[in-house]
Amino acid sequence: MSRPHLRSIEELGGADGILELLDLTDHMVEVNARPMPKVPALRGRTVVSLFFEDSTRTRMSFETAAKRLSADTMNFSVSTSSVNKGESLRDTIETVEAMGVDAFVVRHKSSGVPWQISRWTQASVINAGDGWHQHPTQALLDCYTIRTALGRPSLDGLRIAIVGDIKHSRVARSDVEAFAALGASVVLVAPPTLLPPSIEGWPVEVRHELDGLIGELDVLYLLRMQRERMTEALVPSLREYTACFGLTPARAARLGKHALVMHPGPMNRGIEIAVDPSELPGSVITQQVANGVAVRMAVLFKLLGSGTGLGSDT
């Protein structure tokens, strides 16, 4: 029988599934605060990181999470692998699986790869970001960060704006689903060129300018603006992008007192964030990174755990 996967937010089955993981994350935060932050919950399990695209932070976050739960970890990176020698994706998966794998943590620049991989393996597949499509653990850590920072059980009634390159963003696609599932009112803010061709069925409102909205936000979520979008005629210049959609000092001054500022990283300082984030009282950008480890521990424990609990290694 094949194991459960976490490839998209949708697979968590709505608010209950998301909240269960956020509650589990609370326990992991407690584990991480122990003098010896390691539990034997996943001893004997093997987690393989399959990163076909560079991502030092997400990979380290997953590896740290797996190690704190005492799982064995293996690393597969494209630069040192036989993928460069013409091996197909399927061959790679079947070869690695033959070594005994309980979960693959997959990052790939192509949308959908975790779904393809799950057809070729019995192991759990955890999506660590696929193309423009999904990045479910990022969305979970974002939800966790918001609810912790605002001291709320869920995101009911919060006004959240996601600003920037929605079209090419897996973070946006996962966040929209997760935020909306938890009851937030989500606004996408971008020029039409940076929105998907259709948002039919998305539980969102769309705006093409930020200034009319900024004072009413509980969360301002800024996406990374990639330089290559200029050459694709999607926006005229970074300067114009910053002027219209960047968090400038003038806009920062208009944020509500309690409003949070978030970013999935890595930040383009001076572009989407044109102020020093350390001087923004509402910035929870470093908390997002810190919470990433606990959220990923919760995900690994949920998918691979055998119900032995989170007691200390004795």
């Binding site: 197909s88 790869v113 423009w132 998907p196 259709s198 039919e200």
Partner: protein, 425 residues
Amino acid sequence: MSSLVIKGGRVLDADGERVADVRVEGGVVTEVGAGLSGDRTLDASGCYVSPGFVDLHTHLREPGREEAETVETGSRAAAKGGFTAVVAMPNTEPPHDSLAVVEHVRRAGERAGLCEVAPSGCITMGRAGEQLAPMAELAAAGVRLFTDDGNGVQDPLVMRRAMEYARGLGVTLAQHCEVASLTKGAVMHEGSCCSRLGLPGWPALAEELMVFRDIELARLTGCRIHLLHLSTVRSVELVRAAKADGLPVTAEACPHHFTLTDELLASYDPVYKVNPPLRTAADVAALKAGLADGTIDAIATDHAPHPSEAKEQPLDQAPPGMLGLETALSLAIGELGLDLPRVVALLSWRPAAIAGLEARHGGPIAPGRPANLAVFDPDLTWTVVPAKLASKSRNTPYAGRSVRGKVRHTVYGGDVVVLDGEAQR
């Protein structure tokens, strides 16, 4: 001279339907009537006997991509699908822009002896859209359909000159309608599905702009054009209007475009990646209506084999294309809601005329006519099993699907090349 009698079937051709036996001798039909006998009998009870089918759009992959298909394996798939002629697309390596390649493909077809392989010719050298291919030389060698399929001819001036030149030769230009700058990196239809799935979209407009441009160029030049694998509502409307204006425009649609939609890409299975892409239910309905009212002249398969390893790549890296020869008849019977005479017209005599093959294929089943025939059971239900297909590749989107209507025998040049569903060569 030994004789073959196809016995107990209903003969169906452009002249209508009747219960009759068909005697074949020396590669031609010698008698059509009741109670015939001969040296060998082919049982056709419960079956229709029709002119063989003609596929305007087959990728045989040889030369260059023999790991996917060869002229022989593709011909075998064609014969099993009831096709007695296929137009071989030019996007081989090297492409069909020289007499040597065209003759290689034709002769490989003759060696296989399973159906007529009619090579198309390139419109431009290397299918690069710049310099015209030697169309007169290729036309003199029998090429009737010219296309850069896989690529559309992007430059309107080059296409205009190609049309003017082709008109002088009396040949047809077939366009792969895709404005390439609008489809860079595209994986699937642009719409709500691709937006949700995070995949780059292939907008309907990229096809329709070129359909419009080429219809207007045909109006200007008087060249006969054929529009390949139409896939959108507006493309069908544009062709309908062009025909109402009396322009020399024909068009084809593929079974996958009138049976499948872009929702299937939610599986991220590259078997559903094809160019042009699977589109929406509204597009499917428009194609069916176009086939029903004659706006679209022919069903063509766009049979595009790829080896498993190519289709096991990430979706954006996997090549587009799907098999089609062995399932076309079933899908046409089962999905179009048309009566059999119209289905067979779309598969046989209409495409035969577009391909310039009407002297040998698609004609009435009558004494003196070449014996290129399909014998099919329109009610037999079967399940598509990739490993049982004759193609060298397995990339059918219909794996496991139960379909209705199956070719029982195929007669090519008077020889039984498929008997009871099994290829004889």
